[in-house]
Amino acid sequence: MSAAAPDAGRAPGRSRSDEPQTLAAPAGLVSDILAITGRAIRGILREPELFIFALIIPVFFFVVQIGALGDVAEQQLGIGNYATFQLPISILFAAASTSGGNALVLDIAGGYWDKLSLTPAHRSSLVIGNLFGEMFAVLGYSLALLAFGFAIGVRFESNPVVGSVGLLALTLLFGIGFASVSIAVALATGSVRATQSTFIIFFPLLFLTPSALPRELMTGWFETAVSLNPMTYVVEAARSFLGVYDAGVVFKGFLAAALFSALTFALTALAFRRRVRMG
């Protein structure tokens, strides 16, 4: 049955046909992203306890690894400073364990995603803003771990400013890749549990690397697996920023991180398109 409208004049409200089309105006993609990023950062700052919890495991591994292997590595394997050798792993660990999709999936499950989607903002800004917010957290983790490392004796062998900036840049690029995985799962499933479980991909990707020992000391299938894992080159580049700077190693590391992030961001884009299409 069709429900036809009566004459417009019948309704008591005055018609606004000749009035401005509402106050809404295009804000632009950059403005949309800034607004969403600001909100994401506000959310992170409002839950400092989550920030601290996220640092506990990387710090724990860092300290345990140094305690278990530090003396052996330095005395038997010729690694100058094992804390310096391990710090990049802890920083990458922290970056990988962030879950950019968590905030997003809570928005989806709670209905706030719909509320934001009803605005004329570019919908991609809803994802990119969350990702940028997560990178703010990654930056915080990295700086906190760098400070902790320095406190227990980590030192840069090359220029510390260049080393720090390079390490942070690489970590952010790498972090985008991992955050994109959980964002893709959040968009594709809308499930909090599924999104949180993406953490599991961290294990093969980050432990099948020269995380404990240099690659030249590895043999057999493990060495093969480590050499095939693109994360190996990210780890080695990160170490290069703290140790002896090697442009070739750094280039390979950035390339591996960029390819990984491009792949996972493409998955995010697909999941995003699907969610927008399906509603």
Partner: protein, 342 residues
């Protein structure tokens, strides 16, 4: 130009056809009540018309802009408060409104002014700088409504804005809805489960059931469609059979017109013309038959009666078993307003 138009809208979710060929048209400045039980398809239609969901087939437009082809334009023109007020609990009310305003392209003093205006409009001035996680359900609904109004939309979609609210909060939302139309001339598409709400607010009402519009018109016209007055008779459980037999006998003999007879939890409801005159006939007939009965009243039909006729009473009885209208199997009473005695 219509404020809202839908033509043969269909939406399937796998095998389930949630919306089955809905067409409707809403004029500018109109409050259009969209009434239906849970699962009838109300929210799906709102999601389609507000660009959140694409129809499987058919088309929809807002102020002449197609909801599928021009979604961004449509979003600038509409304000939406969805059934579940999805709000970020970690933000304060002011932060949420400011973010919402920025996404609508509002800046500087315009943004600040609008935040103040809508906050005052929904009566949240004292709480606006508190985090949303401290808000009550009613306050969240009002904040949601405020955020839908920030950019002065020309068309407002309110999806069950008062479901679950206490009477005071409900009355406040109703006042705001009326004010919006009066002050801004906004067109309002209001879905509700509450017959009273539709009766109070809507210029026109459509009743949707199983994905289809089954009745539409002004509340007065819909009530007139029932075409009869309503006599309610309270009867004790043990007198049910005797009462039905007596009423049926009165109808068979022509003393009472052959109107619809429906069992209720309290007794019977009889739909007949000339209610006051036939009330006397009914009382005399029941008395003569020796049927013990309680309160008897006559009233004009309400939207409850329209709804019952259109949907078989599924509105208030979605989780109960309606058991026909033979008087032996009682049909639970519908939700909504109490009957108004004449």
């Amino acid at each position: 130009m219509s404020a809202i138009q839908a033509t043969d809208l269909v939406r399937q979710f796998g095998e389930v056809e949630a919306v089955r060929g809905v067409s409707l048209e809403v004029a500018e400045g109109e409050i259009y009540g969209f009434l239906g039980p849970n699962g009838a398809g109300k929210s799906t239609i709102v999601r389609i018309l507000t660009t959140l969901l694409q129809p499987t087939s058919g088309s929809g437009s807002v102020l002449g802009h197609d909801v599928v082809k021009e979604p961004t334009t449509v979003r600038r023109l509409i304000g939406v408060a969805l059934q579940e007020a999805g709000l970020d609990p970690k933000q304060t009310g002011r932060e949420l409104l400011a973010l919402q305003g920025k996404l609508y392209g509002l800046k500087g003093s315009v943004l600040t002014g609008q935040v103040t205006e809508v906050t005052e409009l929904v009566g949240l001035t004292d709480a606006i700088d508190r985090r949303i996680q401290t808000y009550s359900g009613g306050m969240k609904r009002r904040l949601d409504l405020a955020s839908a109004l920030l950019h002065r939309p020309r068309v407002l979609f309110l999806d069950e804005p008062t479901t679950g609210l206490d009477p005071l909060s409900r009355a406040l939302i109703w006042d705001r809805i009326r004010e919006l139309r009066e002050r801004f001339g906004a067109t309002i598409f209001l879905t509700t489960q509450y017959l009273e709400e539709a009766d109070e607010l809507a210029d026109r009402v459509a009743i949707i059931d199983h994905g289809r519009i089954v009745r539409q018109g002004t509340p007065a016209a819909l009530k007139a469609e029932v075409g009869a007055d309503v006599i309610d008779v309270a009867v004790e459980e043990r007198e049910v059979g005797a009462a039905r037999a007596a009423i049926t006998e009165l109808q068979a003999s022509g003393e009472l017109p052959a109107g619809e007879l429906r069992g209720t939890q309290a007794g019977y409801t009889l739909f007949v013309p000339d209610g006051p005159e036939n009330l006397a006939v009914l009382i005399r007939g029941l008395d003569k038959a020796g049927v013990r009965f309680g309160a008897v009243s006559v009233s004009r039909p309400t939207l409850d009666d329209v709804f019952l006729a259109a949907t078989g009473g599924r509105m208030a009885t979605a989780d109960q078993d309606g058991q026909g209208e033979d008087g032996q199997d009682r049909e639970p009473e519908p939700a909504g307003t109490g009957r108004r005695s004449s």
